[in-house]
Structure formats: structure tokens, C-alpha cells
């Protein structure tokens, strides 16, 4: 607003200032922690997650698949930090490696969702007309099936494996990405700068990728970071009902599922995987929401 104040004359300035008056007085604490935004908090947690992903295996003293690396169902202690499971496997190693698998699945699934969703959305939103009609109807079909149900049917058909899981999860999110990209693209292509660029004789391709896409990128980044969390929850749900990846590979949902039989006697089998899922999703949501607020203020 500062620049506007310099340029505009007094009458306009007054009008602008009038609009600036906060309508509802919000009580502010005396010492606001300016840097302590959800975004900053989320970013720090995200860095922590990446560190765990990268150097976690250095700390795991046992192989995640080694049966009887310790006594069975022993509670958390100094040797087995998170305790052991019913087969005597070290839970800490299993979680560290399972966590990597989970993140790999979710990030890959998000990419699989984002790339087609965004490309189709850009095309639909930019060209509109019959292309938009066709794509939107196709997406409607996907949208009319509850996401998890489609994933379950696909996995049942293709057989459970990491790649099936990625495909099954990835497909469920395409409508969301498509719709948001399309709507943002439509509102962007009505903007003056796009019109200006077009009148300079730039190609459609350049308009889409140099002008529209960079402008909607923050929204899509927010969407993607939250999508990873959604897929982590969905994937762990699938793992829980036994349609996740199969042993000896482990993934957080499957770990949880194997712990559910012991949740009365061995709480650690249930608590630690849940904590990891919860922590990751919370981090991603904080980061995403923080990012959204940051860009909304611009």
C-alpha cells in the first residue's frame, strides 16, 4: 500500500485509508512473536522430517527384517529404543525404514496425481470450450467414486505391491488437482497481463507456462504438500485393512496393522507408528497452511 499512497492524490488516499480500518478490533498480545508463524514452525518440523529420512538408518542398530534380534514383545528400553514386536524385530529400525517407504509411496503418488491433474487443468482452463467439457466429464467419473473405494478396487485387481499402491492412491487425487488448476487458470487467463502478453504475439504455450503457471504455482504447491499427508493417512488405512504392501517390506500403516492385535498388551507397537503418522501429517498441514497464508498476504 505504501507505493499507492505516494502515487495517488489525497482524495483517493483517504478512501484507501478508510478501507484499511480494521472492522473488528483484534486483541493483540503485547509482544507478538513475529517469526513464530505456522509456516516457520512447519518448515522447521519439515526439515526435521527430512533429516530423519536421510540419516535415520544410521541410528538403527538392527536390520528391520531380522527376526529375533531381541526378545519378543519387549518394551522400549536402551537397546531397543522403541521395543520389539511379536517376532522380536526391532521396532525402531522397522519404523525408520517403514517411514522411508511410506514417504516414497506418498510422494510418488502425489507426483502421479499432480502432473496429469495440473496439465489437464491448465489445458481445460486455458482453452475452455469443448476440450474443457470433455476433460471435465471424464474427471466427473473419477469424482463420482469415493476415493478410497476406487483405490481398494484397483489394489484388489492389480494385487498389492508398492507400485499398485502408488497408482491406486495417485488416481484418487486427480480430480482435486484438476479442478483447482482449472479454476485458477480460468481466473488467471482473464487477467490483463495475459491479455497483454497475447497481444504481443506470444504463443499459447508460452502464455500457459511463462505467465499462468508461475502465478498459480504457490496454490499448487500448497495443495501438493497437503496431499502427501492425505495419502499417508489413506495409505496407512489401506495397510491397516491388509491391502497395503506385503511383508517383509514395512510401511507405517502395515506396522500399525500388525500392532493392532497387541494394543492391549504392547502399547508401543501401536503408539510409535501412530505418532510418526500424526507427526508427519501435522507437519505437512502446518507447512501447507503456512505457505498458503504467506502467499495470500502478498
Amino acid at each position: 500500500m505504501k507505493r499507492a499512497n505516494i502515487v495517488l492524490n489525497n482524495r483517493w488516499q483517504r478512501k484507501l485509508e478508510f478501507q484499511e480500518v480494521p472492522i473488528l478490533e483484534v486483541k493483540k498480545s503485547k509482544k507478538p512473536l513475529r517469526w513464530f508463524t505456522p509456516f516457520a514452525f512447519g518448515s522447521v518440523l519439515l526439515c526435521l522430517l527430512v533429516v530423519i529420512l536421510l540419516i535415520g538408518p544410521l541410528f538403527s542398530l538392527f536390520s528391520p527384517a531380522a527376526v529375533s534380534s531381541g526378545p519378543r514383545l519387549s518394551p522400549p528400553g536402551t537397546i531397543h529404543w522403541f521395543g520389539t514386536d511379536a517376532l522380536g524385530r526391532d521396532l525402531f529400525s522397522r519404523i525408520i525404514f517403514g517411514f522411508r517407504t511410506s514417504i516414497y509411496i506418498c510422494v510418488a503418488a502425489t507426483l502421479l496425481t499432480a502432473v496429469p491433474g495440473i496439465i489437464l487443468g491448465l489445458i481445460s482452463g486455458y482453452y475452455q470450450g469443448w476440450i474443457d467439457q470433455i476433460f471435465s466429464r471424464l474427471i466427473d467419473i473419477l469424482l463420482s467414486l469415493p476415493g478410497l473405494l476406487l483405490a481398494i478396487v484397483l489394489i484388489a485387481r492389480l494385487g498389492p505391491s508398492i507400485h499398485t499402491l502408488i497408482v491406486a492412491l495417485g488416481i484418487t487425487g486427480i480430480p482435486t488437482f484438476y479442478r483447482i488448476t482449472r479454476n485458477e487458470t480460468i481466473s488467471m487467463s482473464n487477467q490483463l497481463f495475459v491479455e497483454a502478453s497475447r497481444s504481443l504475439g506470444n504463443t499459447n504455450f508460452k502464455l500457459i507456462f511463462r505467465h499462468i503457471f508461475p502465478n498459480i504455482f504457490p496454490t499448487l504447491l500448497v495443495l501438493s504438500s497437503m496431499r502427501v499427508g492425505v495419502y499417508l493417512l489413506m495409505g496407512s488405512g489401506l495397510g491397516f485393512i491388509g491391502l497395503g504392501i506385503q511383508p517383509p517390506l514395512s510401511e507405517l500403516g502395515a506396522l500399525l496393522a500388525s500392532g493392532k492385535e497387541y494394543y492391549q498388551s504392547a502399547w508401543w507397537l501401536f503408539a510409535f507408528p501412530t505418532f510418526f503418522i500424526c507427526f508427519t501429517v501435522l507437519t505437512l498441514n502446518l507447512f501447507g497452511e503456512g505457505l498458503r497464508d504467506k502467499y495470500n498476504h502478498l
Binding site: 473405494l149 481398494i152 478396487v153 488405512g237 491397516f240
Partner: protein, 307 residues
């Protein structure tokens, strides 16, 4: 108005039709032969041929799909491959159970979500607001079965108040209902809160205050109804998701509903049941979405005037 509604319903029906074609095609592209699975390895070619023609598997794809559709319209969904009972009969029974559970948990979630959301918006940046934000963020980050197991631990194992699995009495409802309602309530709370905070800063709120309306009137008559509109959409979507997607909670609590039936049928390779469940879910999803759209139109004068 009427044209818009008719168009919405027609496009919804088309989507259901195409979705069932998609499901039919996915379930059709079978890696293993159903006939061989059913009869076992020691069956003769003749037996296999007979069963194949009984199941219409010797017909081309489009003929089978059209036959299936024709039967579907007459209420005949085929028979279960496992126990030979009519699929329609099995599904209706299970669906009612799921519907009960979903209605109850959605009602709970709506009541809690709306009041909590409005309450925390009223105390924006206060202690209550912070508590609600943190709590809902946590609820959204825990998988639903995590909540379910946590609740079971407290109410069934420690307090011994409620039964863990099964259906029938009212007590059996409580835990599955809570496990489904908590994440839904969290979503609704956050949405209502965010929308109400949005509405506070709009011009009409200022006008309402300038007219000299009391705080209560401004909130109840102006801010809340406008914040309601997007929340209605969200409730519809969430209801649809619960109806078609309560697999995990239903499996965990052994609730005899549609979700558990679907999962069981998938493990049993009972494809007629899976197919019927998928089509039913798609249909419900579309019906709900159309209802939400129409309701949205009624609630939001801006859309109505757009016609």
C-alpha cells in the same frame, strides 16, 4: 431453476453410468480366472464351460455390460459367488447399517463442528480458539483407526463401559460413531471458523454494525448464515465419504456395514458384490452431490440470480 436442476441430475446419472462402466472394466480385467478359482483345479472342461455360460462369461464385454445394466434396472444385481444369495438382498441389509452409523456420526459432527467453529471464531486468538485449532489439527493428523483404537482403549479396556465389536444394541453404536464423527467434526470446525473470520471483515458486517445491531444479531443473523453456505457443501461431501468409505472403522469394529462387506468381498474375490457396492456408492455420491448443489442454489442468492 428447474432446467438447472434437471441438467444437474442428468449429468449425475451419466457420471454414475460411466463410473459403473469403469468399475465393470476394472473388475473384468481379471488376472486370475474366476471360474477356475470357483471350481478348483480338478474341475473338468465341461464343468468350466457350463459355469462360464451360466455367469455369461462367454459373451463379449459390451453384451455383458448391457445385460448387467438391464438386470440392474430391474433390481437384479446377480448372485454372490460365495454363498449364492442375491446381491441386492445382501447389500440393502448392509447399507442400512452403514446409513444408520453415518447419519448418527454426521449429525454429531455437524452439531459439534458448527458450535465449536462458531465458538472459536467468536473468541478469535483467545485461549479457546488456540485450543480448538490445536485439537482439530491433531484430530485431522491421526488416522481414523488411530482414534478408534485410542477410544477403545479408554472406554472398553480401561473403563469397561462399552463393547468393542459387533452390532445390535445402542451401545455398539457409540465407539464406531465417535471414531467417524471426530475427524469429520474437526474438518467442519475448521471450515466454519475460517469462513466466519472471513465474513467478519466484509462490508455488510460493517453495515450491520453501523445500523446499530447488537453483537448477537450481527453474529446470528448476518455472519453465521453466510458462513453456513460453504459448510453445507462440506457436510454433503463428508457424508458421502463416510457412506462410501468407512472401510477402516467398520472393519476394526466388525460393524456389519457396506464398507466391511466390500473389503470382505474383495478378499473373497466375490466380484458381483464388489461391483454392486461400487455402483451403489457412486449413485449415493452423485445423489448427495446433486442435493448439495441444489441446496447451495437455494441458500446462496448470488447463484440463483446467475441463472
Amino acid at each position: 431453476m428447474v432446467i438447472a436442476i434437471v441438467r444437474r441430475i442428468a449429468s449425475g446419472l451419466l457420471a454414475v453410468l460411466l463410473a459403473s462402466l469403469l468399475a465393470f472394466a476394472i473388475l473384468e480385467a481379471s488376472p486370475g480366472d474366476i471360474v477356475q478359482t470357483l471350481l478348483g483345479d480338478e474341475s473338468t472342461i465341461e464343468q468350466q464351460m457350463t459355469l462360464r455360460s451360466e455367469l455369461n462369461l462367454d459373451q463379449p464385454f459390451h453384451v455383458r455390460f448391457l445385460t448387467y445394466l438391464a438386470n440392474l434396472l430391474q433390481g437384479d444385481l446377480g448372485v454372490s459367488l460365495i454363498n449364492g444369495r442375491p446381491v441386492a438382498e445382501i447389500i440393502v441389509h448392509r447399507f442400512i447399517n452403514t446409513l444408520l452409523l453415518t447419519c448418527l456420526s454426521t449429525t454429531l459432527a455437524v452439531v459439534v463442528g458448527f458450535s465449536l467453529g462458531a465458538w472459536s471464531a467468536l473468541h478469535h486468538k483467545g485461549l479457546i480458539d488456540m485450543a480448538v485449532i490445536v485439537l482439530t489439527a491433531l484430530c485431522l493428523a491421526i488416522p481414523s483407526f488411530g482414534i478408534a483404537i485410542f477410544l477403545t482403549q479408554i472406554f472398553s479396556v480401561h473403563l469397561k463401559l462399552l463393547p468393542v465389536v459387533g452390532g445390535g444394541s445402542l451401545k455398539h453404536f457409540i465407539l464406531p460413531c465417535l471414531s467417524l464423527a471426530i475427524p469429520t467434526a474437526a474438518v467442519i470446525t475448521r471450515l466454519v471458523r475460517a469462513r466466519m473470520l472471513d465474513e467478519i471483515n466484509k462490508q455488510y458486517t460493517l453495515t450491520a454494525r453501523a445500523k446499530g445491531l447488537s453483537n448477537k444479531q450481527v453474529w446470528l443473523r448476518h455472519i453465521f448464515p453466510n458462513a453456513l453456505i460453504p459448510a453445507v457443501t462440506m457436510v454433503g461431501v463428508q457424508f458421502g465419504h463416510l457412506l462410501g468409505g468407512a472401510f477402516v472403522v467398520e472393519t476394526l469394529f466388525a460393524w456389519p456395514g457396506l464398507g466391511r462387506l466390500t473389503v470382505q468381498a474383495i478378499f473373497d474375490q466375490d466380484y458381483p458384490v464388489v461391483l454392486a457396492a461400487v455402483i451403489l456408492s457412486a449413485l449415493i455420491f452423485q445423489v448427495l452431490n446433486s442435493m448439495v448443489d441444489i441446496l447451495h442454489r437455494q441458500l446462496d442468492p448470488l447463484i440463483r440470480e446467475g441463472d
